[in-house]
């Protein structure tokens, strides 16, 4: 025995483009494909031999991923959307098969890709605990034994015999997480389930997760929440475009993810970005932050004015759009969203958006502490009903200390707090 709980070697997964998230095949599609296939075969025999490693219309969501997780280690897998985190988790959970490579797992595996999988709204809390437990792979006797602990954790004692469709959304996720938290397998694969409930319950979830880590069980944890990853894991793997970009201590992994994840340039060209959402009727083409003198910069001092400038292009040359809203959403190094802003907030919908141009968000006095940040960009029309473009984590920038308070005091940014607030102090002695 090698002593590793999880051994991944040369793992790869190829998907067919257009199948993902798109519609399903119909018989007609396959018939017409079959009719074209002989032509393709003949063409490839007569033509040049194909040197492409993968057939056209496919892409590798994961390629050549190898790592080992020793027993008892809590490891975090981080990466941007589309980097392959979920695919990796799905392969390890045996939900989908790899195209290449091999995984060897020693011990009983439990995987939590979602909380509340299989919950049925018509069934009561009690019934759902048993159903969900069975779906997660627990035995009936095991669920019965942990039943009271699950109920106490979820804080739903009074509503046990109420159908969960009458639960508030908070109660629903608490119950769902409680069942999941009591899954006692030697190896646990977890996907972002911490993002549930209110702040108090999130802390409780985090506590439960770190308990699991302390019990000497092996945990592989996939998340966007850097704060959670850093507090739970000792080691981190950064995935980038389906490959392992970094593997090492968690603090360095988070650092690597935040720095290396997004290209940092004064003007970020967004035309080549493939991982984006929306209809594409209008696309963001560039992103830059201008300082108060109008210079594009990668490092902006707090306390000063700056502008977020989003270049765009309308796909159809004759197209014109009304009620367009552009959103800038800024996350700090811990992955926490510190602010977001769009033009509808200030009552300025953009009408007759045509051709190419720029949207500009002016901030008179930047109130964020120094550190690394990422901006997510979002574009919609019809008051947010139709999403045109969505980019996540494609742009990053730095905020440096700019003497926000005008006192010359060295504030030391993120170490103290996330935001900077104007304020004045007074002092008087009471008689």
């Amino acid at each position: 025995m090698s002593g590793a709980a999880i051994e991944v070697s040369g793992l790869g997964k190829r998907y067919r483009l257009g199948r993902r998230g798109g519609g399903y095949e119909t018989l007609r599609d396959n018939l017409s494909e079959a009719l074209q296939a002989p032509w393709r075969t003949i063409a490839s025999v007569l033509g040049r031999p194909s040197e492409e490693p993968s057939p056209p219309g496919t892409f590798w969501a994961l390629s050549d991923v190898s790592f080992q997780v020793p027993h008892g280690q809590v490891i975090g897998v981080i990466g941007r959307n589309g980097a392959g985190k979920s695919t990796l988790l799905k392969i390890l959970s045996r939900i989908t098969e790899p195209t290449t490579g091999e995984v060897r797992i020693t011990g009983r595996v439990g995987s939590l890709l979602e909380v509340g999988t299989g919950f049925h709204p018509e069934l009561t809390g009690r019934e759902n605990i048993f159903l969900n437990g069975a779906i997660l792979g627990m035995h009936r006797a095991e669920i019965a034994r942990k039943f009271d602990a699950i109920v106490a954790f979820a804080e739903v004692e009074r509503f046990l015999d109420t159908p969960v469709k009458h639960y508030s959304s908070g109660m629903y996720v608490r119950l769902a997480f409680a069942v999941a938290a009591h899954l006692e397998t030697e190896i646990l694969l977890v996907d972002e389930v911490l993002a549930v409930g209110d702040a108090r319950f999130q802390n409780k979830c985090l506590g439960a997760m770190s308990d699991i880590g302390r019990q000497g069980r092996t945990v592989l944890f996939v998340s966007h929440a850097m704060a959670a990853v850093q507090s739970l894991c000792s080691r981190g793997i950064v995935l980038q475009a389906g490959r392992v970009a970094f593997d090492g201590p968690i603090d360095r992994a988070v650092e690597d993810y935040l720095r290396g994840g997004a290209p940092r340039a004064a003007v970020v060209d967004l035309t080549g970005v493939a991982a984006r959402g929306g209809t594409g009727e209008i696309r963001f083409t560039s992103f830059r932050i201008e300082d108060e003198s109008g210079q594009a910069s990668v490092s902006i001092p707090n306390g000063r004015a700056c502008s977020f400038v989003l270049g765009y292009e309308v796909r159809d040359p004759g197209g014109s759009f009304d009620q367009v809203a552009a959103t800038v959403s800024v996350r700090n190094a811990l992955g926490i969203r510190v602010f977001y802003h769009h033009n509808l907030l200030v009552g300025r919908p953009f009408d007759r958006v045509t051709g190419r141009g720029e949207f500009r968000l002016r901030i008179p006095r930047l109130p964020l502490s120094s550190g690394d940040y990422q901006a997510d960009l979002h574009l919609s029309r019809d008051r947010g009903r139709t999403i045109l473009d969505a980019l996540e984590g494609e742009t990053s920038f730095e905020i440096c200390d700019g003497d926000f308070f005008g006192s010359g005091f060295e504030y030391r940014g993120g170490a103290n707090a996330a935001v900077l607030v104007d304020g004045s102090w007074d002092h008087r002695t009471l008689p």
């Binding site: 998907y15 199948r19 399903y24 095949e25 119909t26 018989l27 396959n30 799905k90 392969i91 390890l92 959970s93 045996r94 939900i95 989908t96 098969e97 790899p98 195209t99 290449t100 490579g101 091999e102 995984v103 060897r104 797992i105 020693t106 011990g107 009983r108 595996v109 995987s111 890709l113 979602e114 999988t117 299989g118 049925h120 018509e122 069934l123 019934e127 048993f130 159903l131 069975a134 779906i135 997660l136 792979g137 035995h139 009936r140 095991e142 034994r145 942990k146 602990a149 159908p163 009591h182 006692e184 030697e186 019990q215």
Partner: protein, 282 residues
């Protein structure tokens, strides 16, 4: 403090790699997951009776209403022979296994796409889904059986010793539904056309099965061929076991049994071969 789980002495090793060629059926794994199977059946039954206003009455109403229409149209108007028993009982004895089969077929054929969230989020042997859909129909069947029992008592029809073979015919009906359902469930993941074909298929199948009419209307020489429709064997078996009609265990039934076995083996192999792509396609 939570009690610690007893640690297994030899830790289980799972190897995940791309599968090639023939896949093992791994029926032992289904046995391992029998509790999940139980819970899925239990959920289906529970939800069905909770969600509907009439609850269990549906299990009775459907076959009873169909029987009334059949009695009127085929029994009274078309005067189809019912072999000495009152036509309503003749029809109901056939509708009973038919309803079991038709629901089991439809539900198992749709089982994978109806449980997309499970298929894409949790691992378990996928055969459990069509299997649980088929088994969940047994509760409706049991309730509707009471109606037939009541009708037979009312008309003083006493079944012979052949009734002991009834469970075998129930099993054959379930096996038929499962065999075809497994094919359709796997195809449904790739081609959603299946979902729209299912209602038509069951309707069509109803008329090529001797439900409204006795199979004695089919010339004797052709009857073994008629057995290629396994439901013909099931329905004839029911009438034989309950009402003492027909030949019972004969060439037609044997053809039906062979047919079900072929469909079942083929269906399960096809299902297992395509299983690994379900989560990517569904």
């Amino acid at each position: 403090m939570r009690p610690k789980e007893p640690q297994p002495i030899a830790p289980s090793v799972t190897v995940i790699r791309p599968s090639r060629g023939l896949v093992s059926l791994d029926l032992a794994e289904i046995w391992e997951y029998r509790e999940l199977l139980y819970f899925l059946v239990w959920r289906d039954v529970k939800v069905r009776y909770k969600q509907t206003a009439l609850g269990a009455a549906w299990a009775v109403l459907q076959p009873v209403l169909t029987m009334l229409v059949f009695s009127l149209v085929f029994g009274r108007l078309a005067r189809i022979p019912s072999g000495g028993v009152p036509y309503p009982i003749f029809a109901f004895a056939a509708l009973l296994p038919w309803q079991l089969f038709a629901h089991a077929l439809t539900d198992s054929g749709n089982s994978l796409i109806a449980h997309q969230s499970l298929v894409t989020k949790v691992y378990f042997p996928r055969l459990i889904l069509p299997l649980s859909a088929v088994l969940a129909g047994l509760v409706d069947f049991a309730i509707a059986s009471l109606v037939l029992a009541g009708m037979m008592i009312h008309d003083r029809i006493v079944p012979g010793a052949a009734i002991l073979l009834l469970p075998a015919f129930v099993l054959l009906a379930l096996a038929t539904a499962f065999a075809v359902g497994v094919w359709l469930a796997a195809l449904n993941v790739r081609y959603r056309d299946v979902r729209y074909t299912l209602p038509f298929l069951t309707q069509f199948w109803l008329f090529v099965t001797p439900i409204a009419y006795p199979s004695s209307l089919v010339p004797a020489a052709w009857r073994p061929l008629y057995g290629l429709n396994p439901m013909a064997g099931v329905v004839e078996g029911f009438r034989w076991a309950l009402l003492g009609q027909g030949e019972g265990v004969g060439p037609m039934l044997l053809v039906s049994i062979v047919m079900v076995i072929l469909l079942l083996v083929g269906g399960v192999i096809y299902f297992k071969k395509t299983e690994r792509t379900f989560a990517d396609l569904v």
